[in-house]
């Protein structure tokens, strides 16, 4: 049996059909062609599939597609405004805070959610907030520096 789901993704109302077994990540990628969220582990350990559901940061691999009916989803695809990158995206490029890029959408979505709650985090707070976003290339230091720098710029510091 297929479920008919109506939801809002990055401000646009969308609808899709999904089976019960399909996760939100499956629905974003396979039904809505939004392939920014990545599948790393599929068990909530790596954070590559991070999205916001009603403003709450979650792993989209641990949410069923059918659960998000009537909810507000935000993904990496909604982060840049047209050609204008979000400050976090710009700082990730400036600091070379990525290599292969698989973890990057999840890290950016998670970091944006942190800065919305806490515009002036300490380095320790950033590291703990991002503990569920695994990166196998950069060793994290550049990611942390990019987030701290973006936070400073966004505060107007």
């Amino acid at each position: 049996m297929k479920h008919h789901v109506t939801t809002t993704v990055n401000g646009d109302e969308v609808e899709f059909l999904c089976s019960t077994e399909q996760t939100l990540l499956d629905c974003l990628r396979d039904e809505l062609d939004l392939t920014g969220a990545k599948e790393g582990c599929g068990s909530g350990d790596c954070g590559a599939c991070s999205v916001l559901v009603d403003g709450r940061l979650v792993c989209s691999c641990l949410v069923l597609g059918v659960e998000v009916s009537g909810k507000k989803i935000e993904t990496i695809e909604g982060m840049a405004k047209g050609d204008e990158l979000h400050p976090l995206q710009r700082k990730f490029l400036e600091h070379a805070a990525l290599q292969c890029g698989i973890c990057t959408p999840g890290v950016l979505v998670a970091a944006k959610s942190l800065l919305e709650k806490n515009p002036d985090p300490t380095e320790t707070e950033v590291r703990y907030w991002l503990a569920g976003n695994l990166c196998r290339c950069t060793g994290y230091d550049k990611i942390i520096r990019a987030v701290m720098d973006a936070a400073a710029e966004m505060r107007g510091a």
Partner: protein, 286 residues
Amino acid sequence: MRYESPDTLEAAAKMLAAESGDARVLAGGTDLLVQIRSEILSPALVVDIKKIAETRTVSEEKGGFRIGAAVAGAELKEHAKLKKAWPGLVEAANLIGSTQVQGRCSLGGNLCNGSPAADSVPALIAAGAVASIVGPNGRRELKVEDVMLAPRKLALTKGEIIASFFLPARPAHASDAYLRFIPRTEMDIAVVGCAVSLVLDASGTCTAARVGLGAVAARPLLVEDAGKALVGTKVDEAALEKAAAAARAACKPIDDKRGTIEFRTDVAGVLTKRTALIALERARKA
């Protein structure tokens, strides 16, 4: 696999009871969906309880709190009054998984997943929390320490759902704390978890104490003798050593890759002392 999301507990209980195959409750899904995906579970029916108001609400009741079984860890952390009254419970719940997992994981799920190492369960036990359970034959209450029987085995019958937890009113000079041992700083499963809840009188003498231990037996434990060792004392070194000895005596751990029997037993004593000291410091200021 069918999916239902009823808006009453009675309807949810009926659906679960009527299903002839395996039927599972879905709260945050951070354990259930992993187990379905890895084919440890293949339920015929999943009942999402998050459209039921009681499971998603934190409310004040009789001077204490009622916490919905499906309220997410991140929501508990943002509840200032709850965090002030029960800082140990909130910190235990916030040790479950990552920020992303915190957005979904719940106290009800952490308990019903049936792991002896669940972080929030010793804290609920120390708090004296009572689970409110709704099933096809109505509602009943069960102390949290009596809910889990063994790994993956619960004292719930077919169709029963934990709807919420009641935490009793806090007198003055009362607080709690939770510590766990893991070999890293974040994102791991407790080798030993320990929660202590204390009440002091105006002179600083302990008048009530409960100690909960996780990951040292087939289920999370209430260690009554450890609590008794603290009552009537100023929670001094002698009392702490007695409580630690009681905690060690209660341990029936397994040997596994996370820790040996000897290590877990020793750490249970060490954590009982350290956790009690944090709870003491907080209770003095509360």
